[in-house]
């Protein structure tokens, strides 16, 4: 008996193998499953799933960065994001006891390779205890600008050069002499873009039409550690580039590749779970309705019709808006409306099978309803059930992402819909931030396609009439 079952599977597989798109679908599904399994190794931010909305987790990555590979296609390159460790450091100790002060002098050389200037430079000083600092930037042409932290701070120091206002004026001060004097006189020092000017050639137009100069820009940091307990661990300079990671980042600095990878898990999970539950319910409902017939069938038909008369997404929107469900409840609610999918077909197939004499023969032999349903009817419907399961996965994923898009998703998980919502909400579409909008949508589409390929392939096997040869 086991052998026979296996035999049927083998013939099914032999048929399936002939449909190329089905094989492509299976391969893609394999890729998605691999992505889920290898997520910790694939994504640079391994906690992306849990800390997607935790802004502190993303502090180290650039904002609004394009994907790395954009540079392969543009003539003017975007700066890559990179971390620079101290090239040299020098320690001087003054005073003793409670008035001990250690001066750490560190140099961070940055090789700037022309193209667009970095978005930002962030200096991270891993300090325990009290400290104050001074920053000096030396350009390849020798021009320098310095900046001193205004107060003494307890704990780690993080300096983001782009938002330090005084830096703008220092840059201005250093470069204004080279600028066209007439222009320089008009310009408000705080209105210049410090980052582009910092990396621009000192010549007229440095503020308005900067020509970026490649070379070594050195960030020199002088850190004063105050008190005997103050210690310095590691210090780094992060150059926030215009490109980062496989898919870039969003305006919350989140790495989109990590997001898409994390979303894969949820898409697969909610898609498969929803389709599994709803198809199981639908198949059993349809089989029972067709098999029992009579008033049971009539009643079940009425219930079915009520469910199919309710537009799916609107009711889900209102339910989500009112009850604010978690993703698990959402899956359950989707099932409540998704189960109707296979019912009609299953019922008509069941009616057809029921007409076969072997059902009557089984009854004549004294088989119970349960035996007939689960030994004769349901097994025949399994291939159809698998096909309709495959075909209802994309629906579930799209429904979830639609709900997320409108702001009703479960905010504690990262789904592709959530990413798209953030993108749409922050105007990415209107600003043309394509690397934020395209990947999650494409992921939904490809996953949908994966299951469509598999489902349609099974469908052609099941409907020999549609075969063209």
């Amino acid at each position: 008996m086991k052998g026979a079952r296996f035999d049927q599977l083998r013939t099914f597989w032999a048929e399936f193998r002939r449909v190329k798109s089905g094989l492509v679908g299976l391969a893609l599904l394999g890729v998605f499953i691999l992505i889920v399994l290898l997520a910790p190794w694939l994504s640079p931010y391994s906690q992306a799933d849990k800390r997607w909305r935790d802004m502190t987790y993303w502090i180290d990555s650039p904002r609004d960065a394009r994907p790395l590979w954009v540079n392969w296609f543009t003539s003017r390159k975007y700066t890559e994001t990179q971390t620079i460790n101290a090239a040299s450091s020098k320690e001087t100790i003054t005073g003793s006891g409670s008035s001990t002060m250690r001066i750490e002098e560190m140099e961070f050389p940055y090789q700037y390779k022309a193209g667009y200037p970095p978005n930002d430079i962030m200096i991270k000083l891993g300090v325990t205890g009290r400290s104050s600092y001074e920053v000096l930037i030396v350009r390849p042409d020798g021009k320098q600008m310095s900046y001193r932290g205004s107060t003494t701070i307890e704990g780690a120091q993080v300096v983001r050069l782009s938002v330090v206002e005084t830096l703008a004026s220092r840059v201005y001060a250093a470069l204004a002499p080279s600028e066209d004097p007439a222009f320089a006189a008009q310009k408000d020092p705080t209105q210049i873009d410090p980052m582009s000017a910092l990396f621009a050639k000192a010549q007229p137009g440095v503020f308005t039409n900067p020509v970026n100069v490649p070379g070594t820009y050195t960030v020199k940091v002088k850190l004063a550690l105050i008190g005997p307990d103050a210690k310095l661990d590691t210090s780094q300079v992060l150059v926030m580039g215009g490109v980062s990671g496989i898919l870039g980042t969003d305006d919350g600095k989140r790495d989109l590749w990590s997001g898409v990878v994390a979303g894969t898990k949820w898409a697969l999970l909610l898609g498969l779970l929803t389709s599994l539950i709803s198809v199981a319910v639908g198949v059993i409902y349809g089989v029972a309705s067709g098999y029992f017939g009579g008033w049971i069938d009539a009643l079940m038909n009425r219930i079915y019709e009520v469910f199919t008369s309710i537009p799916l997404l609107p009711i889900l929107i209102v339910m989500s808006a009112v009850f604010k469900p978690s993703i698990w409840i959402m899956i359950l609610v989707m099932c409540v409306f998704f189960w109707t999918g296979p019912v009609k077909t299953v019922r008509s197939i069941a009616l057809q099978i029921k007409e076969n004499a072997y059902i009557e023969a089984a009854r004549g032999l004294g088989a119970s309803h349960g035996r007939i349903l689960f030994r004769h009817l349901v097994p025949q419907l399994l291939p159809f059930a698998f096909a309709s399961m495959a075909l209802s996965v994309p629906g579930a994923i799209v429904t979830e992402s639609s709900l997320s898009l409108i702001g009703l998703g479960d905010a504690t998980v990262v789904t592709w819909g959530q990413i798209l919502r953030d993108a749409f909400g922050s105007g990415a579409v209107l600003k043309g931030v394509w690397w934020w909008v395209v990947p999650p949508g494409l992921a939904i589409a490809v996953m949908g396609m994966t299951f469509a390929f598999i489902g349609f392939a099974m469908d052609t096997i099941l409907n020999p009439r549609l075969k063209t040869r």
Binding site: M1, N356, E360, A361, A362, A367, H376
Partner: protein
Amino acid sequence: MSEPILVAENLTKWFPVKRSVGQVLRGNRTWVRAVDGVSFSIEKGEIFGLVGESGCGKTTTGKLIMKLLEITDGRLYVSGEDVTHVRGRALEKHRRAVQMIFQDPYSSMNPRFTIRDVLMEPLEIHKVGKDMKEREAWVREILNEVKLSPPEEFLVRHPHMLSGGQRQRAATARTLMLNPSVIVADEPVSMIDLSTRAEILHMMRQLQRELGLTYIYVTHDLSTARYFTDRLAVMYLGKIIEMGPSGTVIDRCLHPYTQALIGAVCEPVSGKVNQVKDVPIKGEIPAATNIPPGCRFHPRCLYAIPECWEEVEPKLVDIGGGHMVACRRHEEIERVGAAARTSEASLGIRRATRIS
């Protein structure tokens, strides 16, 4: 005469017709009178034929005997026990005693089952046999019985890997699994090629002799019924209108409907090409929801007189030799028909063959 093994008394099956809301409110109830008071008794070891056109209720009668349908009215006795409304244990017993062979060999077995699964199913349902080994041995024995040998070769096959004839053998094997006493065979050979038809009937008859089975042979084909059955009942619109020993019913039929049926049969003898067939009947069969008053055959009958629709329906009466007919004018018909019959009987000439 031995003890009757199966007795049907006024067996009736009415199906309710689906009604619109309006009809429900007006209290109209219409029924399809599929089987409308059928009585017969079958002796052990007999082959009893039920013949008629589609929709005459012959298959429904078979299913009532199988108790696949609830009996609306009347009584059914098997081996002297009333099984009309049995349930539970008694129904289980009935299921083992009465089995059925279905018309379509292509649909009477689950295509996903192997022959082993098919034959094991009755044993599993009724928990017959101590273990798999005993069951399997029994399955092999039965397969040999129906000449599907060697059994090993057939056990692992799916129904679609068998020919129509082999499938019907397997279906027969299934009915034998539980040692039944009565087998209802519903058109067992009508969908099988002519060349193998006789083989199946031959096998069935052999089994009947060896195992002492009783058959109820349901068919529309008078020729095989004549060949295969001992006794024959002709049904029209849910009622038996003529019954008796097969040879008598066919050669000396008295009911106008039986005459029409027999006239309609084609036979492979020469010289008929330029003859118009004599089918003494008019109109089409009425719906079973709307059975004509009086004799239900009168609208199509060429012999009908006002009495036929004005008075009550004629009962089946025995006119000697177990030949029963339900027609008020059977005596006149017999007188008219006697002359014509002699010529018809001469058609059954033995054919010589060139070889062998």
